[in-house]
């Protein structure tokens, strides 16, 4: 008797939740045994946890180009971004009330900016700087807004996690320094994938994105940045309650691993993404592939299919064995389509976002390219849009 074996799953939605590296998993379990105690206690068990936590901090800080004392652990990437925006806008409220950010920052950062600038007796504004069709921010407009004064905080992502576009961070950081405004760089989609420069005043990163177990965000803050908490005081003034020591150790191990094969994985995944960018428009009619050909993350690619319901396409691909993301309305638990696609003037429906985890095989991508045209055709046929 024979039985058809189902095709193995192919996971292409690694943004913020990459598959956990087996060695990082092993470190996590070991750290639960060794570092379970409260690192703030003075006894031997607490001191051991403290030592492990300090080691993880030193290791991650070295990769981020920060000093260990500058690096704080947060419970999540979202918490790190919220806290950075809240702390700096409060600390600098006598110097400025406004937040300047690219229109394609992560939603958590934009929500925090709107929250702080509309709060209180003397609210400011959140100024969104537009991007071009590839998702790159308009540097001249960013610089002009910084020069206009009244700015508490500027924010520019290192790379866009939905489209892959690298942003001109060094140029904007130079202008921010000249204006005396701290720049928050969201490197949540890039750390562990491409090198990060030291052009930042605050740097946020996401351990789950580089193959660590989820539940750890990072925020590095230069000592020159003025800030003040708008939350109760604690031994850890930035992130009250401290952090899971095992999570920090696993994140350090996973980042070591990611950095050790960074250039190999860069070339490998860049080739896979390039193949998708070339083949999808050939194999599927009426498709827009987004983002620049160069100056991009190696592992992120996004495209939109005309006359296709994004939710239906994600479901159809899932049925065929492929996990992918989408920025279309209703697929990202939002009623509105992705603000990133909107800011780029791109087609927002029928959107598929692929984030290639490290170790993905070329054959898996080839299978995806074989399955995609039929999946799109099925969804289009259900809508009766052939020939339009």
């Amino acid at each position: 008797m024979t039985r058809a074996t189902p095709a193995p799953r192919v996971f292409l939605d690694a943004a913020g939740h990459a598959p956990v590296h087996p060695q990082a998993r092993a470190v996590l379990l070991e750290a639960v045994d060794q570092g379970w105690a409260d690192p703030r206690r003075l006894h031997a068990e607490g001191r051991r946890a403290r030592m492990l936590l300090d080691g993880a901090r030193e290791s991650i800080a070295a990769h981020l180009g920060s000093r260990p004392a500058e690096l704080r652990f947060a419970g999540s990437h979202v918490t790190a971004l919220h806290t950075a925006v809240r702390g700096v806008t409060r600390g600098r409220h006598r110097l400025g009330r406004d937040v300047v950010a690219s229109a394609v920052e992560r939603a958590a950062l934009l929500h925090a900016a709107r929250f702080t600038t509309t709060d209180g007796d003397a609210p400011g504004t959140t100024a969104l700087i537009p991007v071009d069709r590839t998702g790159r921010v308009a540097v001249d407009q960013f610089v002009a807004r910084l020069g206009a004064g009244g700015v508490a905080l500027a924010a520019l992502q290192h790379a866009n996690g939905e489209v892959g576009t690298l942003q001109p961070v060094p140029e904007v950081h130079a202008a921010a320094r000249q204006a005396g405004v701290p720049l928050l760089v969201d490197a949540g989609s890039s750390v562990g994938h491409v090198p990060v420069s030291d052009a930042w005043d605050l740097l946020a990163a996401d351990a789950g994105d580089w193959g660590a177990p989820v539940g750890l965000g990072l925020l590095a803050v230069r000592p020159r940045v003025r800030w003040a908490p708008d939350w109760p005081e604690d031994d850890d003034p930035w992130f009250p309650g401290g952090v899971s020591v095992p999570a920090a150790l696993a994140a350090a191990a996973a980042l070591d691993l990611a950095r050790s094969d960074l250039s190999v994985e860069d070339a490998h995944r860049r080739a896979l993404v390039s193949r998708i960018r070339t083949e999808v428009p050939i194999r599927v009619p009426d498709v827009q592939v987004m983002g620049p050909d160069d100056a991009r993350l190696p592992h992120v690619v996004t495209f939109s299919c005309l006359y296709v319901d994004g939710e239906a396409l994600v479901t159809e691909l899932d049925r065929a064995g492929f996990a992918v993301g989408s920025g279309s309305a209703c697929t990202s638990s939002a009623l509105e389509p992705s603000h990133v696609l909107a800011a780029m003037g791109a087609l927002t429906h029928g959107n598929i976002r692929i984030t290639v985890p490290r170790g993905t095989e070329a054959a898996q991508v080839e299978r995806f390219l074989e399955v995609l045209p039929a999946a799109v055709a099925t969804v289009r046929s259900a809508l009766g849009v052939e020939g339009l």
């Binding site: 009426d286 005309l306 006359y307 309305a329 389509p337 696609l341 003037g345 791109a346 927002t348 339009l388």
Partner: protein, 66 residues
């Protein structure tokens, strides 16, 4: 999807025709111009009626001479 209804309407009209989409779907504000670019049509107006600010109201001139 409004853009599909628009494409259906456009399929039966001569080039140069003006077609107006009126919808409450916020995605149409982005998708109709993107569709027009892909198909070579021109967006000639994109303003909601003053009394209906939540509405999307976009007029497209179809390509070709008809």
């Amino acid at each position: 999807m409004p853009v599909i209804m628009l494409a259906r309407a456009a399929a039966s009209l001569p080039g140069g025709s003006l077609v107006t989409v009126i919808t409450t779907d916020p995605a149409a504000r982005l998708d109709v111009p993107a569709w027009a670019r892909m198909r070579g049509h021109a967006v000639v107006d994109d303003r909601p009626a003053p009394s209906r600010p939540d509405e999307v109201r976009i007029t497209v001139r179809l390509s070709g001479n008809g």
